[in-house]
Symmetry: C2
Subunit: 208 residues, 2 copies
DNA sequence: GTCTATAACCAGATAGAC
DNA sequence: GTCTATCTGGTTATAGAC
């Protein structure tokens, strides 16, 4: 497979193709997105697409890579501000909610395209794994900082998994219900605090 | 579209076709499943498939219908047993976890095939909505009974949505990680109890 | 109800001029 | 880097014998 990076030139059409492919694949999935649709949506002929990406798998891989970069670089830092657990947790959840709102495409790509196994290249599958790992790492680090869990990584990991389950489930609900549905920040707050207490973590919050 | 029901005959091949189509669509999605693959997997020629279901949309609709029936009929009743909130909640979550383990196909169909909008028939989309509603109704009724929420339906609905978000997110994690991942029953228990307390519901459980 | 055969079309991918 | 033209194969769907 050829790649524009090897040729050194800056290619505006490359980005346009990626934009179109991202939107289509987030909507219709990998199998449901054809080269000709990408061609029509981006304005570039099919041969240009192949010149840039070599194959349909190549486009998919490039789309995933860019989506991961976009999403990860839009995440807030892993040290949410605040003097108390409650403040830091609020800051963390607000940041997560904002990222959730601003990157529906990228999330859908991660979630919806998990269905491939056969029929797609190993590189794309690996990229998907990286995508998911990056999110997990971010959540684990952030929650570790919120609750002061440097010495209890297992607990941080458990909280992150639970949190990401809710994120994933909410993303599903969103693609049925549309943008009305957003992250249930309040419930997540209550749930995460309860899980922290359940692990006997010091949580400086009582009933109001 | 024709339909075997109109012809009155019992058709064993119909079920075989549906079995094959269910497995394939749960794995590869709607667009990724072709008639010829269903034909090869079920042993019936393509023309038989069209005789039974009329179109690819027709197969999809029938697959969804049957998956919904299977899943819904496998759910435990909406009145989990127990004298205390804690006991009823445990019974409810154990039942949900069992259904989750036993019906990965049916859940995947619900979740993964949400990506269609265009390109698939309106009837199939409506069926998907029914599918999802049935699950929501079951969760709402069950949690209403667990916490005694006959007079506070909004709270029951909120708890059900939160619970189903976790279920959906876990289903996603499962199709990355495989059957190792199951419903986080313990965390769900802690979270749901905390949300109930947050709504000032009487919860007969303190720290042990 | 199931078979073989096939029509009509669209998919992924490539060739070669420019 | 982009264009037009094209090849090959798979796709949905149908026709008509049995």
């Amino acid at each position: 497979m050829q790649d524009a990076a090897l040729h050194g030139a800056q290619v505006p059409s490359r980005e346009a193709i990626l934009d179109a492919a991202t939107a289509l694949m987030a909507r219709f999935g990998y199998a449901g997105t054809s080269i000709s649709k990408i061609s029509a949506a981006s304005g570039s002929p099919a041969s240009s697409i192949y010149w840039h990406f070599g194959s349909k798998d190549g486009i998919y891989l490039a789309v995933l890579r860019r989506a991961r970069q976009h999403l990860v670089s839009s995440l807030p830092g892993t040290r949410p501000a605040g003097d108390t657990v409650g403040e830091r947790l609020t800051a963390f959840l607000d940041g997560a909610s904002a990222a959730f709102e601003n990157h529906p495409h990228d999330l859908r790509l991660l979630l919806g395209l998990g269905m491939l196994e056969e029929g797609t290249g190993a590189a794309a599958i690996a990229e998907l794994g990286q995508y998911r790992l990056a999110l997990r790492q971010w959540a684990t680090d952030s929650l570790g900082h919120v609750f002061g869990l440097a010495d209890r990584p297992a607990v941080a990991d458990e909280l992150a998994r639970f949190m990401l389950s809710v994120v994933g489930g909410t993303a599903i609900a969103r693609w049925f219900d549309g943008p009305v549905t957003s992250l249930p920040v309040q419930q997540l707050r209550v749930a995460l605090l309860a899980l922290a207490r359940h692990h006997r973590l010091p949580v400086d919050e009582g009933p109001p």
